[in-house]
Amino acid sequence: MTANTEVARSSGRLWQGLTLQQKQVVWAWGFLAVPILFYGLIRFYPTVEAFVISTTNWNLMNSPSFVGLANFKRLMADPVFWQVFRNTFLYLIIGTPLSLVLAFTIAYHLDRVRFMHGFIRALYFLPFLTTATAMAWVWRWFYQPVPIGLINDVISSLGFSQQPFLRSTTQALPAVLAPAIWAGLGFQVVIFLAGLRAIPTTYYEAARIDGVSDFAILRKITLPLLKPTIIFLVVFSSIGFLRIFDQVYNMTSGDPGGPLNATKPLVLMIYQTAFSSFDMGYAAAQTVVLFLVLLCVSLLQLRLLRDR
């Protein structure tokens, strides 16, 4: 008899000796073994690593040298960072309310439509399924000057002067934001529709019998009962706008971040600092700022919406 079979037999005996409850515990940790390794190695360790790198000066070639909070001080004194910070917040404070109000208005009316409901919903939803890279180029083409660009063609045929859009420091940011709102709108409409569907119709019937106006029903019944959906969409879409990258990168390649950094969001700055300048410590400090901003925004929004 070999040692192997001996081991197998004794472990078999060990397994038989366990209670049902103990066996369950062994199974559970067995199922979790690979995932725990994954989360430890690919999520938790890199998170700690990001904080550590943010306190170093490192170009990937030399070994990193500890510089304490110097990267954060440098960031506070960097005018480009403040421009980028401003841009990122503009994406957030224009994008989130605008897309949510649009999506809610569409969903609210579409909810009552029976005729071709699915078809109209599909029209709004289709952009959500596109690739931001591909669509950034379509929109970029739209914004071109007259012989090529559709929007300027329409504007000038109506007798107005052409607009520079992506070439302008003031128009570039909204021009980049438009496709981001466009692409996400369908998702929000679908989620709002599901939220509206979940409100029991008896509430509406009771309100109608009492002669409550449509607007009062909207304000007193629909919106309050839609609160979980609204919280979800506000958090989901503001995190999306704070992390905007694909659209900006592709619409302003050649002049990344737009004229005078007019469109550059934080994630593009992180990308350039890390993978064009290989200034890893400085880039990591920027990611820490992004993390803190995202944390504050989600906590603040959850708080505000819960209190109301």
């Binding site: 690979v34 938790f44 690593e49 990001a50 591909a134 929109w139 679908v190 990611t287």
Partner: protein, 278 residues
């Protein structure tokens, strides 16, 4: 149907709302329509901004596809998105099931730990991931593109919520029949949450098909680009040839649109399930 409700149904206000909704929907489609329209135009005709091309041609598609790179990027995206989706469907549901249906010390801690990773933005992890990939020789490889996304906290959370609705009696009955725990998960529990599985699969596939920043960082050779990264590089080098850019964009969009038209009902339901549970 009574006369008054018929009147209500076709009241001018409601017809107007319907028309506005339709017009808005068609407006949403304009970028897609013009993309397809331009992809069918000869390079001499792109200044003609009519939606229906005067002389539609498939030459642009032939040019782009005969390049070979484009098909390669297409297959890269397809392979990567498929493998990552399968991995997520398996591991996220295994972990979700374990956390929902097993009693053991540390269960809540594991759940909280996994859930807490939702607070960490990917952008914060890309630098450590890049360093890790560099040290392990994973840069510029399929595995390098795929490794960060093999499991997600979002998927785990979604699956846990759904497994909690599966009655314990089913699982107990299988246990009495002598099935081992993995077989119970695989053959009894998993088929009961098919709607959640398809929601997870759709979400994971879509987000990996369109993923941009990490593949852009981790790949350097053109053969390993995914479709979005390839398209970005392709568009830069052929900057003036809008008709070819639009063709590339169309080719990146056609698969998802085709899948949507085939599976519309499931995709919308999947998005709702994933969205509301997430």
């Amino acid at each position: 149907m009574t006369g008054s409700s018929l009147m209500q149904r076709f009241a001018p206000g409601r017809v107007l709302v319907w028309l506005l909704l339709l017009a808005g929907g068609l407006l949403m489609l304009t970028p897609l329509l013009f993309m397809f329209s331009t992809s069918l135009k000869d390079s001499a005709d792109i200044y003609d901004l009519r939606l229906i091309p005067a002389a539609p041609t498939l030459d642009n598609y032939k040019t782009v596809l005969s390049d070979g790179r484009f098909l390669r990027w297409f297959w890269n995206s397809l392979a990567i998105a498929t493998i990552v989706t399968l991995s997520n469907v398996f591991f996220d549901s295994l972990v979700g099931y374990t956390l929902a249906k097993f009693q053991f010390r540390g269960r809540y801690l594991v759940f909280l730990a996994i859930l807490s990773t939702l607070m960490i933005p990917t952008e914060m992890l890309v630098i450590p991931w890049y360093v890790m990939a560099k040290n392990f020789g994973w840069l510029d490889s399929y595995w390098g593109i795929m490794f960060p996304g093999m499991m997600t906290a979002f998927g785990t959370f979604l699956m846990k919520q759904f497994f909690e609705t599966v009655p314990n009696d089913f699982l107990e009955a299988a246990r009495v029949d002598g099935l081992n725990e993995f077989a119970i998960f695989w053959r009894i529990a998993l088929p009961l949450v098919t709607p959640a599985l398809s929601a997870l699969a759709i979400f994971t596939f879509l987000s990996n098909w369109t993923a941009f920043i990490w593949p852009l960082i981790v790949t350097t050779s053109k053969e390993l680009y995914t479709l979005p990264v390839g398209l970005a590089s392709f568009a830069v080098e052929s900057q003036i040839q809008w008709e070819l850019i639009m063709t590339g964009a169309a080719l990146a969009t056609i698969p998802t649109l085709a899948v949507f038209l085939l599976l519309q009902r499931y995709i919308v339901r999947g998005v709702v399930l994933a969205g509301l549970k997430g």
